[in-house]
C-alpha cells in the first residue's frame, strides 16, 4: 500500500459530483442509484462504526441500519454539505445510539488521557519484553490497540481525517462540535499514538 493512498479519497470533486447525481436519482425514486452508493461507502461506514463496536456481525448490522436510515432520510438531504458528510453523521449517531441502547456502555467511555494512557500501556504490555524485537506487525497491532482504547471522539476524528481525508470543518459537521475541538482531538490522538510508537520501539 502506498503512503497517502487513501488521502482525500472521498473528497475528490468528481467523486462529490457523482454522489450528488446518484442522490438526485434516488430522490426521484431510482433505487439502483442507492445500490451504487452502498457499495461505495459501506466499508468506510463500517470502519467508522468499528471505533465504537468490536464485533464484526454487530458492525455489519449497524452498517445496514445506517444505510436504511440514509435511504429513508434522503428526501430531506438538500446537498448543503457533501453526501458523505451527511452519511458519516448518520453513522456516528447510529453507532452511538446502538452502544447506548444495547450495551449501556456510555459510562465506560474514557475522558481522561491519563486513564487512556494506562489502558494503552496495558494493551501492549504483553509485547513489551526487553529481549524481544518489535516487528512491524506488532507495532501495527500496538497502534490498533491504542486506537481501540482511546476515547472514541479522538479515534473517530483521526480516522475521518486520515482515512477519509475530511477537512476539520467537515469533521466538525460530522461530529457536531467546533472546529477547534476537532483540531484538539486529532492532536491528542496523534500524541497518544506517538507515545505508543515510542514505547514500543524503545523496548527494542
Amino acid at each position: 500500500m502506498n503512503p497517502g493512498q487513501y488521502e482525500d479519497c472521498a473528497r475528490h470533486p468528481s467523486s462529490d459530483q457523482l454522489d450528488q447525481k446518484l442522490v438526485s436519482r434516488v430522490q426521484k425514486g431510482d433505487r439502483s442509484a442507492f445500490d451504487l452508493l452502498i457499495v461505495k461507502y459501506q466499508n468506510k461506514v463500517a470502519s467508522i462504526i468499528s471505533r465504537y463496536i468490536e464485533d464484526i456481525n454487530e458492525i455489519a448490522d449497524v452498517t445496514q441500519e445506517v444505510f436504511i436510515k440514509a435511504y429513508r432520510g434522503i428526501p430531506n438531504f438538500r446537498g448543503d454539505s457533501a453526501f458523505y458528510t451527511w452519511l458519516f453523521r448518520i453513522t456516528l449517531n447510529t453507532a452511538k445510539n446502538y452502544v447506548l441502547k444495547n450495551r449501556k456502555q456510555a459510562g465506560q467511555t474514557l475522558t481522561e488521557d491519563l486513564a487512556t494512557q494506562e489502558l494503552i500501556a496495558d494493551s501492549w504490555r504483553s509485547l513489551d519484553s526487553p529481549e524481544r524485537l518489535i516487528g512491524r506487525a506488532e507495532l501495527a497491532e500496538g497502534i490498533q490497540n491504542a486506537l481501540s482504547v482511546m476515547p472514541e471522539e479522538l479515534s473517530v476524528a483521526l480516522i475521518l481525517r486520515e482515512f477519509e481525508g475530511l477537512s476539520y470543518e467537515e469533521i466538525s459537521k460530522v461530529m457536531d462540535c467546533p472546529v477547534g475541538t476537532v483540531r484538539s482531538r486529532i492532536f491528542r490522538a496523534r500524541e497518544l499514538l506517538d507515545n505508543t510508537i515510542k514505547s514500543l520501539t524503545d523496548s527494542q
Partner: protein
C-alpha cells in the same frame, strides 16, 4: 515545546493553520525540537494510513436493497 505549538504542528500536517500560526512555528527557537515532532506526526500518519487492520470490510448491499425494495421509494418534497 508547549502543547499549543505541538497542536499547531499537528494542524500544519493537515494544512489547517493560518499564516500567523505558520510564522509562530517557523520562528520557534528550538528548530531541532520542531523537526522531531514534525517527523513524529508524519510517522503516526503513515502507521495509521497503512494499517490495514483498522479497515473493516462488510457487504450489506444485498440485505439493504432487499429491505428498501419493500418500501415506497422516497421522493424529495
Amino acid at each position: 515545546m508547549n502543547e499549543r505549538l505541538k497542536e499547531s504542528l499537528s494542524a500544519l500536517l493537515d494544512g489547517e493553520v493560518n499564516e500567523l500560526e505558520l510564522q509562530r512555528i517557523l520562528s520557534y527557537e528550538n528548530k531541532q525540537e520542531v523537526s522531531e515532532f514534525w517527523q513524529n506526526y508524519h510517522e503516526v500518519r503513515e502507521w495509521v494510513r497503512n494499517n490495514d487492520s483498522l479497515r473493516v470490510r462488510v457487504n450489506v448491499r444485498a440485505q439493504v436493497m432487499r429491505i428498501i425494495s419493500e418500501e415506497i421509494p422516497p421522493h424529495k418534497a
